[in-house]
Symmetry: C2
Amino acid sequence: MTSHADLIRALDERDTADFSALFDFLRIPSVSARSEYTGDMARAADWLAHAMRGIGLEAAVLPTGGHPAVLGEWRKAPPGAPTLLIYGHYDVQPPEPLELWTSPAFEPTIRDGKLFARGSVDDKGQLWAHVMALSAHMRARGTLPLNVVILAEGEEEVGSDHLAPFIATHRERLACDAVVISDSAMFAEGMPSILSSLRGLAYFEVTVRGPSTDLHSGMYGGAVVNPAMALARALATLHDKRGRIAMKGFYDRVRPFPTAVLKGMRKLPHSDTRFRKALGVRALGGEAGKTTLEKLWTRPTCEINGMLSGYTGEGAKTVLPGEAMAKVSFRLVPDQRPDVVERQFKAHLMRQLPASSGVTVSVKALHGGAPWRADLDGPIFDAARAALRNAFGRDPVIVGEGGSIPVVSDFERLLKAPVLLAGFGLPGENAHAPDEWIGVDNLRRGARAMAFLYDEFAARYSP
Amino acid sequence: MTSHADLIRALDERDTADFSALFDFLRIPSVSARSEYTGDMARAADWLAHAMRGIGLEAAVLPTGGHPAVLGEWRKAPPGAPTLLIYGHYDVQPPEPLELWTSPAFEPTIRDGKLFARGSVDDKGQLWAHVMALSAHMRARGTLPLNVVILAEGEEEVGSDHLAPFIATHRERLACDAVVISDSAMFAEGMPSILSSLRGLAYFEVTVRGPSTDLHSGMYGGAVVNPAMALARALATLHDKRGRIAMKGFYDRVRPFPTAVLKGMRKLPHSDTRFRKALGVRALGGEAGKTTLEKLWTRPTCEINGMLSGYTGEGAKTVLPGEAMAKVSFRLVPDQRPDVVERQFKAHLMRQLPASSGVTVSVKALHGGAPWRADLDGPIFDAARAALRNAFGRDPVIVGEGGSIPVVSDFERLLKAPVLLAGFGLPGENAHAPDEWIGVDNLRRGARAMAFLYDEFAARYSP
């Protein structure tokens, strides 16, 4: 076991400067979903490349066909040392609704030990923890114990469409012995966590079109099919009474989770009452007969993410809308596939709203990602357990995650390397919502854990 | 029968000036539903009062507790002449969606004999036809054959909340022998029409609230009740499979239309195919077993007017929305009542989404109006038949109307006077939608018909 005291000291010395730099990074509104932020996306990529160069890496902003990727490299480790690929993303979710932020989304603010900003936890802050960790090694020892490639993409929040092709194209340059990603949350405060599974995603925009223009709801109402009503009725058929998804064949490819994983989940401290109260709801929902963690981590879902039709401003407008739109997404579990779900979803809606129904329905696939389950053996996982224990003072737990990081399975498939997912967010961190935050101390411990991980992995690795 | 040649000449002479003034009126964005237009509402009221004074009426802008009413008066008719109350409204619907207008909503434009502008047909243009008609009398003869009160309100598009109290307060001043309103459409080009019925309205905003903030749909999806999904499911229960409204007690107060009226409706030239094609839909909808005109004029409805939840911008945002909103309105027929429907609607939604459902539902009544049926006898209706025949060259037909003019029954009740509804719009006029228009020639004939009406009514009236 290597001593980590020098790394801790190096991180502590630089704490103020590291946070100040992160604040600069968070101030850039790198919203990948909306074209008006294209300039800010480029600015964030350049900023990050510059920061990587500042700690001694070679860095480049590389085109992807969409928003650019930032690639940092350091390959001066002794012969026989492993190569670690660190993946993160510099793009963030749109900040809306702006009025619900306590402090502005792109003005990082620390309150009560929490750093609030869009991207603080998802994922700029966590990506930055790796930069802090690498910087600590460089300053403490002038070198790194392994070869490092950092890949920061700019399209994670819009489906990482260009990342798999990018990995395929740059396969040689990205070749590695393990991938580490910090883009997830710990199970609870003080409980470092290793992710054993991610859900996949199949995200669609559904448009139901009726009359060719908005109509007066009095003059036409009662004889014309209302597209908003048709959409509501179609959406209402997506679940059955027990909360299962009522689409034909939807569960056919679902492979049950190993009993050991399910058992481990049941041992985790979880209170439905506390969960419910934290969300401000009087009852929970979802599939009957499953525990909450089972529902969140091991079961597929169907959600409405957005809905828009007709007049939504102040007051009353008596309009019969010409069309209605819903964003609908499915979370997938192994071995479901986004393309299969797309076919099932389209078929389901066409059955609900055939040409004879008086409206037409169209479905646009906005993005998809495969579900994933980890193999928890091997040096990178052993190294992670040791590094997390040293940084947080207790053994990590093995958890699942309901969200998606679509590229995880791409990395495994294309680079043939195991992927370690260890993140430092917390439940309630408001990723994708107003007042997104990360605990300042968890960010610090995360940087420590990652600095330790490089040592631990290098020590355990044999070519 | 009085000769009308002088009135026709007076209208023709002034045609350019009358249209130019109407354009000025239409340019004022008098949107009553939205507070940012409050200044324009006041401006439109002042403009109208000024125009009334210009033709020799006394006019005042009077407070109502909401947007002001404009009252024009002329009471110099010979003893024994009747008093006619002309009612119209100077407020208009919001112009959105702006991008669907061929020419700007508040820049009146004539194309192919149609005058396009928000308010052209509903109702500034039709109100203006009366001003043109009165002006013609004044110029041709220096007098009017009857006493006239013009009441133009500014809240018709938001439910006329303050009009009934206003009428009650000013009952003496508004006392009259008949009310005439031009705020409706003719059955078809060349077919002058008298309205025998209007549907009432009960308009609501429904909000379904779930978690206290928007959530990440991956991290929380599957265990939390999605308010948008809950709303869609609740909305889907509002109709049964035969297109009837599935709310308990909803049809209890519906009084069947007289057989003679239904028979007359079946004789009107109507083609479902043409109706369908004009709307750009492949099939019609609504209650099974009813004809289209029956559905539109004699049956109650339930429509979604608007729907909003979660993320509706470009691209994909994986959010589980904290709340979802729908604007839902019912058209009512005699003897349904908005207050009764409000109770039924709230009870229905509470049954669908009880406290135990994991979401809460709230319903805000935005406005309501009673349904109405005309009694077609008496001098004002005889006068209308003669005036319309003379102006359009054929006998008027008796039609129904699916829309609402909530104040019609208030006039009857408070002023004890019969109400004549004769309007000059046409099907497809896009009232409440982009590209609202009125036929230029129908507007001219409408002004003639109203000029004739004053003579015909005065001639037939006996105190």
